[in-house]
């Protein structure tokens, strides 16, 4: 309702979330896309003798394995599921070992219920069900989006942020308004991560460690800003046209493709590797986009060298490099994201922004968002790759919060769903953040569906 009898409550009420009476352990299993992750989190009552009354949240382990496809290829659901099946047990074993706990110690197992790809989701759910039955541990199905948001809030200690959730499958601006989390803006077609990944495929960037990261690295060397459509529709954005038009530039006669495929060794390794389990037997970097036919390739190379020397002579040339395209794509799409986030901020009156999701670890996006928020007198919160990119610990965190609220998923309801209905997301969020009577929740979900 629009009116609140008590607009700004001045007195505090005990938390709706029961404080843990003992140490609670939760294993989170995530496998909605091409990452399989497992993590163990603990919520403890405050230690005796300290002044702090807050629950102690500890990340005991956070292990992840990524299915990396050859350059120019995306990940197919069936292959990804195969990868997850192969790695599920190893990753979970590693997580349990790192955490220094036994399976029997766990209080609850959380798994990703959706949204995501059906096959990979099934694997995670199946593993969770098996472990639950083996060790007689209750299950909690978690919405992937909520996992991201909960973990972001936990790590960054932000109270009431506008959440920008940007990943391979989601692009949403979520804001807290009138006692509920609401989706204020989102993409009308493809997700930002999808747009970047597909573009990386077009220009032949490797998928290792991630296409988005490689675009970010290349973009730093970009100089020119090519004109791309700028699609903001109120608080929503549209990205499909941008992908098409940036692809069109690669067919432009002034476009100079990579003379050779950048090798993955060229790319500086990310800093979150130490906790990764040993990598898959390294897939040989594919040469499919690099070499077509010998004669053609030869003439092509010749053409490029000739062109480059010509370009050096002619300083006001008009060439477009892949770096320029990466740069332009990032600048344009991120400007759109920052713009809709700013709109939501102005609309709701919030000052802080929390960026979650895989694209959220892009430093340029963080920088742009930082400039915008500082001008508005706010702050931007972001996490690093271990928490930004899909991981098991965020599922564990959201699952344990739900468990503490008394929510358990029955075995017969532990199926997965590729599309989590949006109104359901909202309702669940309400459920997590505010202890609202169930009758009201049902009513709310009915109203928003």
């Amino acid at each position: 309702m629009d009116s609140h009898p008590i607009a700004s409550g001045s007195k505090k009420k005990p938390s709706p979330l029961p404080k843990p009476t003992r140490k609670l352990l939760c294993l989170g299993i995530e496998g909605s896309a091409n990452k399989f992750g497992a993590g163990i989190i603990s919520h403890e009552p405050p230690r005796a003798g300290t002044m702090k009354k807050a629950t102690v949240v500890t990340v005991l382990s956070n292990v992840r394995h990524t299915y990396i496809t050859p350059a120019g290829e995306g990940f197919l659901p069936s292959d990804t599921a195969r990868h997850h099946r192969e790695w599920a047990v190893k990753v979970i074993k590693e997580a349990v070992r790192k955490a220094g706990v036994r399976m029997e110690d766990l209080d609850v197992i959380a798994f990703t219920k959706g949204p995501g790809m059906g096959g990979p989701l099934q694997v995670g759910a199946l593993v969770a069900r098996t472990l639950s039955l083996l060790h007689n541990i209750p299950l909690v199905g978690v919405n992937h989006c909520i996992g991201h948001i909960e973990m972001g809030r936990q790590i960054t200690s932000s109270t009431n942020p506008i959440v920008l959730y940007v990943s391979g499958g989601n692009t949403q601006v979520i804001a807290y308004s009138q006692q509920r989390y609401r989706i204020f803006g989102e993409t009308l077609d493809i997700a930002i991560g999808n747009c970047l990944d597909r573009f990386a495929r077009v220009i032949g960037l490797p998928n290792d460690p991630s296409p988005g990261y490689n675009i970010e690295v290349e973009a730093r060397r970009g100089k020119r800003l090519v004109v791309l459509p700028y699609g903001t529709k109120g608080m929503d954005i549209t990205l499909a046209g941008i992908l098409t038009s940036v692809e069109a530039y690669t067919k432009n006669k002034n476009y100079r493709p990579f003379p050779h495929q950048p090798r993955s060794q060229d790319i500086p390794q990310t800093n979150n590797t130490p906790n990764k389990p040993p990598l898959l037997p390294k897939m040989t970097p594919t040469t499919s986009t690099e070499v077509k036919d010998d004669p053609e390739n030869f003439s092509n190379k010749f053409e490029i060298t000739r062109q480059i020397s010509k370009d050096i002579e002619n300083t006001n040339q008009d060439i477009i490099t892949p770096q320029d395209l990466c740069h332009s794509l990032q600048e344009t799409t991120f400007a759109m994201l920052v713009e809709i986030t700013e709109r939501a901020m102005a609309h709701v009156g919030s000052k802080d922004v929390l960026i979650v999701g895989g694209v959220g670890c892009n430093l340029r996006l963080q920088e742009m968002m930082g400039i915008m928020t500082s001008e508005r007198g706010g702050r931007v919160f972001s996490t690093d790759q271990s928490f930004c990119i899909d991981n098991g610990i965020m599922i564990a965190q959201a699952g344990l919060l739900a468990f503490r609220m008394g929510k358990v998923t029955k075995m017969e309801n532990s199926g997965v769903t590729q599309r989590y209905v949006r109104s359901l997301v909202k309702t669940l969020l309400v459920y997590h953040f505010r202890n609202i009577p169930l009758s009201i929740l049902k009513l709310l979900s009915h109203l928003t569906s």
Binding site: S8, R434, T448
Partner: protein, 382 residues
Amino acid sequence: MTWTPAGPSNYLISQSRLIKQGAEARVYLLSSLLPSPRVYWPSDSQASDQTSSSQTLSLPKHSDRPSPFVDEVAYNTNHLISALPSSNTSTNSSERSKHKQTSHDEGKATQEVILKYRFPKTYRHPILDASLTRSRLAAEARALTRCAKAGVNVPQVLWVDEKAGVLGLERIKGWSVREILGGGAEGELEGDEEEELGNGEEVSVSDQIGVAPESPSRTSTEGTSREGEDARMTGSRSTESTTGVTAMTESGAEWENEGAEALRKAGITIEGLMESIGRELGRLHALGTVHGDLTTSNMMVRLTPGRGEQYEVVLIDFGLSSGGTYAEHYAVDLYVLERAFLSTHPSSESLYAGVSDPSSFNSSPISTYQISPLLTITFRSD
């Protein structure tokens, strides 16, 4: 950080008062585009108006008459105005000012001007920013002119400075639909959240992978709650069950704000208002123009006593408007509005139904094809 545009727009902004710091632009209120003249042109109509000292020349009345008494600056500005490309300045404004004189006493006194300054966004690439600002300003001015010509209620364009990114518009005296519906509590929420500090949870990341939290103690929303929430919930339970909106119109206590009060006095119902919004949108869309940012904040309600209708809905902020080529464009426009309705005014579905009621679109040729793509898009998004 304060940005100021160059040239004459800079002068205008220095004379005006900042009223809104939006995401897209900064909005200033200028009491009049023309400086107050030292000597008034002696005319019959002025005699009765001498009472108000803040009075200035009304633009359309005097723009074609060179006045020896008006000081130099005003005279120059006059020329600038008449040279503006927007044709509605001369044609439409005369009608409007006539209507104003009959309806409002203050209408003829001063024409307040809203200056919309699109300041440079430093987060954006400078080239991208400059081109976006230029194209959006031009598009906005064009769309407003086109709408005004076709009789859609929009503010007049009074000043266009494309280089500086400043657009001068007529000020609509009234209330936004958002104010009237009482949606979107802004400061209130923040105040609440502040009080929850210090009762949260602590995070410590023992594992090596973990990034250290930015501060050792954290505050959590789920960790606390406000007192009176239960009371509020039970309070809203009763209204919830009677489908929000009607409850709002029936119980007089819900008319909290000035705008809603004024509408109620004029005998206007919320449902009637929604239908007017729908009609206004229908007229806009029939023109082949898509607003692009339809929210309840971007619709003003102005009372027009003495005319057939007691009020009119004025659409503002055409910053994201464009020409609609496909039915889908119009549908996206309506979809954006629906989303805005639902997110700022929860449980307002029945309200929105009034807006998108096909009967509201009866006057326009889009009545049939517009509704079906809207349904498709709404469905697709879920």
